[in-house]
């Protein structure tokens, strides 16, 4: 056993600890998880034919998806050190490399998530201000049409009208496709890290499910926050409560697995059980980001009035913090030799 290492390597631009992945990657993983969560809920509600009951989940929240995905991709791109060669990502598909198939999945799901929003645009924005400042832009895609009382616009091109009809007629098939893609993205955000054997903290099969559940939870939080319908809020806060419980279970399960595991895993767990990440992880993430929302949601369920915005904010902030901690700690914790 190596008890003392007097001097390791000392290379100014590389050592002492790896921090090549920073905040942009954490944000990328967070936004990917959020987009995946919303997509999965919107798809499931559509597949179960409950669009009327949970309209925010199907029509409003998905507006976030393309924005989150685009911003997430932006963060991924600014984190590339050889950015002028970024197009090389799309010259091959390498299934062994999560970075590769993940980038391809995002390339497919982002335009589809815009199609999803467009499909419900007439419900979300039934009237446009054609005399306003943006009328020039609006007129590129839309024409004024007052034949309907509630709706004052129509797509400018007939193929868009046909396409909208086609998509609405086949929205359940579309929802199935989006469900699969949403799950792939949600799992991908975890697998991106857990595929690295070299990083003892990341290299656990629990990380994939954990990131997926956390992504779903942030998605549910966003839907709760946007919704005005009491029943919908209640439903999603119930779902979220359940998700938080699973998350807590997975976290405890992961930590116990580490403690009982090989020396290197126990060493990794030490960083969270007394070591430098103990306070932020247990107090800020688990405490403020999981347990407090859990208690507030339970109170909501037994009929107390609670500010749902605070719950949603805590969950979203917790989700982001969780990814920041995992990305950071994963790089600090390395094999000892």
């Amino acid at each position: 056993m190596e008890e003392i290492i007097t001097s390791g390597r000392n290379i100014p631009h590389i050592d002492p600890i790896l921090d090549i992945w920073g905040l942009p990657i954490s944000l990328y993983l967070f936004l990917g998880g959020l987009a995946a969560g919303i997509t999965i809920f919107a798809s499931v509600v559509t597949i179960l034919k409950r669009e009327q009951q949970y309209s925010t989940a199907v029509k409003i929240a998905p507006i976030i998806t393309p924005i989150a995905l685009a911003v997430g991709l932006f963060f991924l791109l600014i984190d590339l050190h050889h950015i002028l060669y970024a197009w090389q990502l799309f010259t091959t598909i390498r299934l062994e490399s999560p970075m590769s198939w993940g980038a391809w999945t995002l390339l497919v799901i982002t335009p589809l998530s815009i199609v999803w929003v467009a499909m419900y645009l007439k419900d979300i924005l039934p009237t446009f201000d054609f005399s306003g400042c943006c009328s020039g832009i609006l007129k590129l895609l839309f024409v004024e049409n007052n034949s309907d009382e509630k709706l004052n616009w129509e797509w400018k091109y007939s193929f868009l009208v046909d396409f909208e009809k086609f998509m609405l007629d086949n929205k359940r098939v579309f929802a199935w496709i989006m469900l699969v893609l949403g799950i792939v993205v949600g799992v991908y955000t975890g697998i991106l890290l857990s595929a690295f054997n070299a990083r003892p903290l990341w290299n656990t099969e629990i990380l994939g499910p954990l990131f997926l559940v956390s992504g779903l939870s942030t998605g549910a939080a966003a839907i709760m926050w946007l919704s005005n319908d009491h029943n919908e809020i209640k439903m999603f806060s119930k779902i979220d409560l359940f998700l938080i419980l699973i998350e807590l279970f997975l976290i405890v399960h992961m930590m116990m697995g580490f403690v009982a595991g090989p020396e290197i895993k126990a060493y990794a767990a030490g960083f969270f059980l007394g070591g430098e990440f103990t306070a932020v992880f247990w107090v800020l993430f688990v405490g403020l980001g999981l347990v407090i929302p859990l208690l507030l949601e339970t109170m909501e369920l037994i009929g107390r009035k609670i500010p749902i915005g605070i719950v949603a904010f805590l969950i979203l902030a917790g989700g982001l913090l969780f990814r920041i901690i995992m990305v950071d700690a994963g790089q600090v914790i390395r094999y000892l030799y």
Binding site: M1, E2, E3, I4, I5, T6, S7, G8, R9, N10, I11, P12, H13, I14, L18, I20, W21, D79, L80, H81, H82, I83, L84, Y85, A86, Q88, L89, T91, T92, R94, E96, S97, P98, M99, S100, A103, A195, F196, N197, A198, R199, P262, I264, Q331, R334, Y335, L336, Y337
Partner: protein
């Protein structure tokens, strides 16, 4: 053909000549290094044992760095040497994360750089720069597949170890202990 190195930790004095030789040979930018020297004190007091060893990319047999590369920039060439093609590399650093030895770094120009076993010298029948300058002759380079090579003979007569075998990459640099 399987290139590898055998390094005698009992001979290494930690002079870092190998580091300087590599930086000069390969034009490694200032503040970066493709190889380095570690000193480890092993054991429990008072049974302590000092080990000095020069480290670099282990040109592993099972290469996570090549697997996780999304573009194929990281690849394995003849003889098992692991290399990066700069203008295929997007600088995503997935390979850096996947190397348990932290043997890779981002070159200031943006692509990922690492030890190449001096394949340009090896192609001409020379040893890598680090091996050729070592004043104590503690480093040996050669074909591990050839039972008559110096490296194979050393491995069959002396006790050796690899670094972090539990990381599962099957490193091809062996340390004589």
């Amino acid at each position: 053909m399987r290139y590898g190195m055998v390094i005698d930790t009992l001979k290494c004095v930690g002079c870092t000549d190998c580091v300087v030789a590599c930086q000069t040979e390969n034009n490694v930018p200032l503040g970066y290094a493709r190889d380095w020297v570690s000193e480890a004190v092993i054991g429990t007091y008072p049974e302590l044992h000092l080990e000095i060893r020069t480290e670099r990319c282990n040109h592993c047999d099972d290469t996570p760095c090549v697997r996780t590369c999304p573009t194929g920039a990281s690849h394995v060439i003849e003889g098992g040497i692991v290399k990066v093609t700069p203008n295929e590399c997007i600088g995503c650093a997935a390979c850096i994360e996947s190397c348990p030895y932290d043997a890779r770094f981002v070159h200031p120009e943006g692509y990922v750089d690492k030890c190449t076993f001096c394949d340009h010298r090896v192609a001409n029948g020379q040893d890598p720069a680090c091996v050729s300058v070592c004043p104590t002759y503690c480093m040996h380079f050669g074909d591990l597949d050839d039972p008559n090579s110096e490296v194979s003979k050393l491995l069959s007569t002396r006790q050796s170890k690899v670094l972090a075998p539990e990381a599962g990459t099957k490193p091809q640099i062996f340390y004589l202990i």
